[in-house]
């Protein structure tokens, strides 16, 4: 009982960006979040984000239409995320 409780929050937050219909469904363009340390990958981050609001749950309901970039590089569910990272979620791109 002398042991300190495990640290479950991070000191630095993760910046999460949403584009296109993910922005519309979450109602958020950018948020800084502090998930527990267990949230160490993009996939785990999504699992954690969908509990933030019904809008988040709706945005990620069809995960195979959601794309991601970590620090401005395309990423996938296994890509690690760390405090200080910028994680962006968006639909498949449609420029050109």
């Amino acid at each position: 009982m002398n042991q300190p409780a495990p640290t479950v929050t991070r000191s630095a937050g993760l910046t999460v960006l949403y584009f296109a219909w993910l922005r519309e469904r979450t109602g958020t363009a950018e948020e800084v979040v502090a998930p527990p340390v267990e949230v160490a990958t993009v996939g785990a981050l999504i699992d954690w984000l969908i509990r933030r609001s019904p809008g988040h749950a709706t945005a990620f309901a069809s995960r195979d239409t959601v794309r991601c970039a970590v620090n401005q590089d395309f990423a996938d569910p296994e890509t690690p995320v760390r405090p200080g990272d910028e994680v962006a979620f968006f639909p498949p791109v449609t420029g050109g």
């Binding site: 960006l17 296109a20 498949p92 791109v93 420029g95 050109g96």
Partner: protein, 163 residues
């Protein structure tokens, strides 16, 4: 060497050709593609299209696509310009331009640049219809297929000609 730009304002096609070839005598051909806003989308009339992008990532993604083209073809320069914001039917959206000593490289590189841009640069289009409805354009399987064909290396037509 590549010039990449994201901007709201229109681009000047002639000026971009001139900028790429100014003072050069080693270019034999320039391949170009310009994408424009069509008024009809899936049979419905659109009144405008709004392009959103991911500013911190976009120019970097375009520069990577250009660098990939430069690694595949002996380019003497290339230009990628993409507009963002609200555009009207008939407006220019995107310009890709590739210069090489030989025509097939210039044309193939231009095709590659637009195919990869369509699947690897963080832009999203929203169409606004005459009835006020707005929908995000969905990515198309054909675009993925068009981009994927370049993984197999230059297509056979490129092998048939070197100039």
């Amino acid at each position: 060497m590549a010039k990449v730009r994201v901007q709201q304002e229109d681009f000047d096609i002639g000026a971009e050709f001139a900028a790429l070839s100014a003072g050069r005598t080693d270019i034999g051909g320039l391949g170009c593609f310009v994408g424009t806003v069509r008024e009809t989308a899936k049979g419905r009339k659109i009144v405008s299209m709004t392009l959103e992008h991911y500013p911190a990532m976009t120019e970097r993604a375009l520069a990577r696509i250009a660098a990939e083209a430069e690694s595949r073809w002996p380019l003497l320069g290339c230009t990628l310009i993409h507009r963002v914001g609200t555009l009207l039917p008939g407006d220019n959206i995107v310009l890709v331009l590739a210069a090489s000593a030989h025509r097939q490289a210039a044309l193939d590189a231009a095709g590659f640049l637009i195919d990869w841009l369509k699947t690897r640069a963080p832009f999203w289009k929203k169409e606004r219809f005459a009835d006020g409805d707005e929908t995000w354009v969905e990515a198309r399987a054909e675009d993925d297929a068009a981009a994927a064909k370049w993984w197999a290396g230059p297509p056979s037509r490129a092998a048939a000609s070197t100039g």
